[in-house]
Structure formats: structure tokens, C-alpha cells
Symmetry: C2
Subunit: 274 residues, 2 copies
């Protein structure tokens, strides 16, 4: 069974109901001690107040969402995106976040060249690595589902993420979000390839049949078809000991419910099926 101390919740899971303060206090009331936070929420709250709130509730930050998108941009926008990513590195350091996901983005304007945007992503990561290492912040690669390849992420498999890690060296890790990678026949092998050193996050939700929306129809663990426990054991078997973070985008269902009930169900399902 999953050690309950490892359970974390991403703020997105209750973002329709709770602001930052309510999320931190709400999760804490149910015994959760890890939270994935979002920059806009931190900025609305104010960094000093956010840090105090986290400390007062014994809450650690699993990741700060996020830097990027950084590809498919003209030169001015690309520079601005990299400057913004450097600010995100500083914010992540202030919050002692375990990692900073860097969303690639994908095709923009008229280009259809996926290879070009993939090269841009690698170059942007290379540029961000130096300030990230200096700040002690691990940049996190999170492969997103191929159905998001056109507009949100040009990195769509664990193999692509591992290849990038090979190319870029120390200071980069990988978040396994089961929703995005569960379908991949190479998943077990690529989780093993990532290993203890690279695995910096493990996100859970579930794939619903049918899925009604490409972004906002994720299911509660156990309500869909992902073999969550099997995949979690692959990660643990590869040496991963970090948080198991619930991240559910669900504007048709969970975002309409009482957030305390949502957290209770999250915890129950983490115990029973993850």
C-alpha cells in the first residue's frame, strides 16, 4: 500500500472552489502535507504570505507550476518567456519547491515543423539549466499526452524526456503523470531507464471512457482504466520515493463538487487503488 505520507495534491484539483489559502488549509486539515502550487495563485497571495501559510500548515511544495511555454515563439517572445522562466526559478527556490516543470508549448503561427520546436525546447532547457543549477532547482520534464502535441507540448513520451535528459545532463528530472503516459507500451522500460536520479514527480488521476474533452475531463483514481498501482510500483521499483500527487482537471465533475469531499475521495482512492 502507498505510504500516506507520500500523498500530495495539486492545487489544480480544487482550483474552481478554493484559492491558495483555502487549498493549503483545506489539504492540511485532511492531513495532506504536500501541495503542487501555481504561480498565479502565489502571486495573488503574495510570496511572503504564501511562505508563511505553507510553513504554518507544515506544507511542502512538490512543484511550482510552471515555466513555459518556450517554443514556437518569435525572438522577442522567446526572450520574454526565458526571462519569465528565470523568475519562476527564483520563485521555486524561495518556496523550496522540489522541482519546476518547464512546459514546452508546441506549434504556433504557420509552422508545422515539430522537429524544429523540439530543438527549440532543448535549447531553451540548456539555457535555463545554468540559473536553475545555481538556485538548486531541478527543471522537470513532464511528457504530455500526444493529443496535446499540436498546441501544448511537443514532448509526448517518456522516451523523449529520457532522451532530453541524456542530452542535457544533471539538473533535469522527469515527472511521470500517468494520465499522459499510461498508454505507452514502453512505459515500464522508460520508467526504469529514468531511474531514481531522474524521477522527480508522480502524478495520478484516471482516464475515463468515454473522454469528453481533451484537457478538462480527467477522472478520479479508480473511476477509469489506468492500472495505477502497477505503474506506481514501476516507479517505486525504479527507486522513486517521492510524492504521489493527485492532479485532476475536471470542469464537468470534480470542480463542481464540495472541495472537502473531493479531498476525502482523493485520499481514499490513493489508499485503495494507487
Amino acid at each position: 500500500m502507498l505510504d500516506p505520507k507520500r500523498i500530495a495534491i495539486n492545487q489544480a484539483t480544487t482550483r474552481a472552489q478554493w484559492d491558495f489559502r483555502e487549498s493549503v488549509e483545506g489539504y492540511a486539515r485532511h492531513g495532506v502535507r504536500g501541495i503542487g502550487v501555481w504561480r498565479d495563485a502565489i502571486e495573488r497571495c503574495g510570496m511572503a504570505d504564501a511562505k508563511r501559510l505553507l510553513a504554518d500548515n507544515g506544507m511542502t511544495v512538490t512543484g511550482l507550476n510552471r515555466a513555459g511555454p518556450v517554443v514556437g515563439l518569435d525572438e522577442g517572445a522567446r526572450r520574454a518567456a526565458l526571462d519569465d522562466a528565470r523568475r519562476a526559478i527564483d520563485q521555486a527556490a524561495e518556496l523550496s519547491a522540489a522541482c519546476l516543470p518547464v512546459l514546452p508549448g508546441s506549434l504556433r503561427s504557420k509552422s508545422k515543423d515539430m522537429n524544429a520546436v523540439r530543438i527549440q525546447y532543448r535549447e531553451a532547457l540548456a539555457e535555463l539549466l545554468s540559473p536553475a543549477r545555481k538556485a538548486g532547482i531541478t527543471l522537470a520534464l513532464e511528457p504530455l499526452h500526444p493529443m496535446l502535441a499540436a498546441d501544448r507540448s511537443c514532448m509526448n513520451t517518456m522516451a523523449d524526456a529520457n532522451d532530453l535528459c541524456d542530452a542535457l545532463g544533471q539538473g533535469i528530472g522527469i515527472i511521470v503523470d500517468v494520465y499522459h503516459v499510461w498508454w505507452d507500451s514502453r512505459l515500464e522500460a522508460e520508467i526504469r531507464r529514468a531511474g531514481k536520479d531522474r524521477l522527480v514527480g508522480f502524478h495520478v488521476s484516471d482516464w475515463l471512457v468515454p473522454t469528453r474533452d481533451l484537457v478538462f475531463d480527467r477522472g478520479m483514481m479508480g473511476d477509469g482504466i489506468i492500472d495505477l498501482r502497477r505503474i506506481r510500483r514501476w516507479a517505486d521499483g525504479a527507486g522513486y520515493e517521492g510524492p504521489v500527487e493527485v492532479e485532476i482537471y475536471s470542469n464537468l465533475d470534480w470542480w463542481t463538487k464540495n472541495p472537502h469531499s473531493v479531498v476525502e475521495v482523493c485520499l481514499e482512492r490513493c489508499r485503495s487503488v494507487v
Copy 2:
């Protein structure tokens, strides 16, 4: 530019407007000489009439859709599915179809074990290979997009299809449907790996941003973000000389339009962007 003689249209592209006879005659009127046909349409028309209609219009059959699903079934249903697939082999031979796609299917009932259904698919193909070889029909593997992995196909990449071909030997080929595989960073390498001997079909449509439905929102070539010409050249570069088949599922758009206009746009776009 694409040789216009290679252009074919899958009947699904006008399935809301035209029955089998209307499709054959309609495509032929616009100079198209290849059609991807569906078994239910052939059966409604009657095999003898269907063959006459095809011959009278100088139309060849690129593929007969389809055998399967064959996985995730209990033993009785599995036997019935394999028997049905053998009938499909005979029908494909009667129609001189260039290939017979075998849809795997995926998870059913309570199982979440993707590896198990993938093994079932390989076993089903192995069982069908002997009658297919006898009938001179190539079984076609068509990787479907990972967003369809839960319920429609447990085979989701060109790499998986190539691995199956490696395991099963002669008599099996691969259909590259750009809609399903365009996002894959390994696409070019896996098309090359498939090569002339394995490539038995090349289907085109386009990926729309946003995509509003996981199955029925494919775009007309040129209306989306797929670099169609680049991918078609990869296939041609690997030695593929067969049909380029338009297959558009679009209940919100193209299925609501005058089918003659749809065919005209298909042909124009094949010339201008494929």
C-alpha cells in the same frame, strides 16, 4: 507533387451522405480510382452487385474495413471474432482488396492490463496469418492515436506495429494514418524501418486545433497542423508507391456538406498540400 493516380478516398469520408453505390459512382465521376470500403456497406449492397459496381467504374479496393476487434474478449466472443475475421479475409479476397486492416480493440470488462491485450492481439494475428496467406490477403496493422488506447486500439505507435511485424513475419503490413501518428518524434525513423515491404497504406486527413471530439473531428487536409507533404515524402522515400487515401471522420463539418463538394475539396487539397 503527388501523382493524382495515387489518390483514393475512404468511404467513411462521405458515409453520412452516400451509400456504397453512390460513393463508388461519385468518386469515379471525379476521376478517383481507389476506394476504401466498409463491410457493412458491401453486405447491404450484396457482394455480386458490389463487385460489378466496382468493375463498371474501374475502381480498385485499397482496403476492406475491417476485421476485429479481437482482444479483451471472453473465449466465446474471441472465437466468434476470429471466425468473423476469417470471413473478412474471404471477402477481401473476393474484392481483390489490397489489404485487410485488423483492428485490435483494447480493454474490456474489468481488466486494466494493457500488456495482456497486446499479447492477445499478437496471438490473434498469428492465428489469422495462415488463412490470410492462403487467400493472398495482407493483414494490415494501423496504429491508432494514443487517445484511443483505452477502448479502440492497444496498438498506438509505428514502433509497436513494426515490432509486431518483426515478431510475425511475412503477410503483415502497416497502414500509416497521419492523423494517428503525426505527433510521434520517432515517426520518420519508424516509417523508414517499415520500408517498402511493410507499407501497405497511407491515410490522410488533418489534426484540428482545437479538436472537439476524440473520434469524429478530423479535419480536411490543410485545415490543421499536420505537415502532410513532409510525412508523405518520408513514406515515398521509404519506397512506398501505393494509394494516398483520404479518410475523414467529421460529424460536425464534412459529413454535413454536399458530398460532391467534399470530393472536390479532397482532390484539390491532395494536390496542394499532400
